[in-house]
Amino acid sequence: MPMAQMDNQAVTPYGTDHLPCRRAVVATETPLVLDCGQTLSHIPVAYQTYGRLNADRTNAVLVCHALTGDQYLIEPHPMTGKEGWWIRMVGPGRPIDTDRYFVICANALGSCMGTLGPREVDPATGKPWGLRFPVITIADMVRVQALLMDHLGIERLACVIGGSMGGMQVLQWAVLFPDRVMSAIPIACAARHSAQNIAFHEVGRQAIMADPDWHGGDYLTNGAQPTRGLAVARMAAHITYLSETALHRKFGRRLQDRAALGFGFDADFRVESYLRHQGITFVDRFDANSYLYITRAMDYFDLAAEHGGVLTGAFRGSPVRFCLISFSSDWLFPTSEVRDIVHALNAVAADVSFVEIESDKGHDAFLLEEPELFAVVHGFLDGLAQHRRVAPL
């Protein structure tokens, strides 16, 4: 059936139609031109909102999720039953206070929780897009979010916030739509994906594509799932989200359910058992092709590239109030990369705050209980409110 008729309805027979969330269809009048040159129209977007939009529509906060994240910030995940991924940050009385702000989180373009991605059905063929889905970029994801804001009647966001890939989207928002963003909080991210990070992503993609159940990307129509490949990809990636200190503290060399080494290849060590668990549970909720597409989008991310390789060019004249946050033990997006962004913002005398938070929890710290992170975000948003009242930006 035509995509235009699908607003608020089932989107695909392949597994996202039952998800409890809000849905919109964007790019219905004008197709969205992607960075790769292809166009997409009638793009379904799955999203959640929390709190209430005020009368002058100035209290909207957009949360951008990470690689494998989704729109379920607070409520239990509909597939895993686990608590919302940012329940510590968003909610009544939380740093992003839903009693004060209207919080929106949309599933990213290319993902697999209801927004258009390779798992959804290509109206031209009636089959899942698979690898026929166009390669998308972080900017494409942001353009879709901007179309969602149009749909919701929100001209200007009080804040865009996110960690990791979400942080990349925050930066991209500030560059693409500086007049639609009052403030930006990019957390644990970089202005470009490093060679090391691209390398880790490539390992994950190769693991997926080496799984015979991947079927050249057409596993859905073949009734299969490349679960082994996707699980390995997740295991490799998960290591990069932690720190050596955190791994050692959590597992050390302790053995799993045994008193002595097994002299075999079972999961002797707790850390092995933990990683296997991470891999196995991941495949139940995530689409392998989405993993390929989204990691690719992150690899392609380079804010400076469009400005002759000079990052300052991306931010020139920016009216956005920035607050950048890094974590001391994050080796995936180390503080030095965040500091590069700070220096670029300084060079155009942008309004910028930058905090490195002491934590031994690695990259994943932004998802965890980090009181300092909450205090900084809360203070920054409070300051924003004061500045808007006394001296509107």
Partner: protein
């Protein structure tokens, strides 16, 4: 000048010098517009020098007391740079725009004349390259405000002369081996360096040991009796408008 006079701690204000600011709060009266504790006297003097609604970069802003006061009382568009993460976090929690950074290396990332005032309070003596930092201050700020402890103060001179050891005074409490203050100077030194660098000293406020402050010309009174100094600077080629 006799030793007896030098040892009278609170007698070192020149006769007739009008008190610009009182240290502390002897009457216990809260400032009318705020319940904040009184600021360090040199910060209050600096705040008084800055006109409303201008752009200010406070380098070494610590917990953000100056920026917060400037925002509250003058709606100043303030930014801060602070080396200590604890200080930065405290500032951002207060809603101030502050980056973690090192003045020795990070000032060069700002463009020319990005700010109306670049403020460096009680920090120049801790810089690895104070000369370069001074140049950066008058480059990125149309004016710079620099406050520093005066190593030519009589107490410092007396401590060195009488004990033969590096001075440790109530005001400068570090021992030579653990002090962050690696580049002390006197008021006269600062005037000389500014002249060498083509920097104009527009104002020279001298703070005495009893908390009284006044504008003084360069001379023996400033250099002997000033415990701290605040210089208002601009580059000679700048318009200063």
């Amino acid at each position: 000048m006799s030793v007896e006079i030098l040892e009278t701690a609170d007698a070192d204000t020149p006769a007739g010098a009008p008190a610009i600011v009182e240290a502390g709060n002897p009457l216990g009266v809260e400032p009318a517009d705020t319940a904040m504790p009184p600021m360090r006297p040199d910060l209050q003097l600096i705040a008084d020098m800055i006109p409303p609604r201008c752009r200010v970069l406070d380098i070494g802003c610590d917990q953000g007391d100056l920026l917060a006061a400037l925002w509250r009382s003058k709606a100043v568009d303030g930014r801060g740079m602070e080396l200590s993460m604890a200080g930065v976090r405290a500032c951002v929690r207060r809603g101030l725009s502050v980056v973690q950074g090192d003045a020795d290396t990070d000032l060069m990332t700002y463009p020319d004349a990005a700010f109306d005032y670049a403020v460096l309070s009680q920090t120049l003596q801790a810089m690895r390259d104070p000369k370069e930092v001074l140049c950066q201050l008058v480059r990125i700020g149309r004016r710079a405000i620099v406050s520093f402890p005066n190593f030519g103060h009589w107490r410092v001179r007396w401590a060195l002369m009488s004990t033969g050891r590096m001075p440790v005074t109530r005001h400068l409490q570090y021992s030579w081996y653990d002090t962050p203050n690696i580049h002390f100077c006197t008021i006269r030194d600062m005037d000389t360096l500014c002249a060498d660098l083509g920097i104009v000293v527009e104002r020279r406020i001298v703070l005495f040991g009893n908390g009284v402050a006044r504008d003084l010309p360069l001379g023996w009174r400033a250099n002997w009796l000033g415990r701290d100094a605040i210089f208002l600077l601009r580059h000679a080629r700048g318009s200063g408008a």
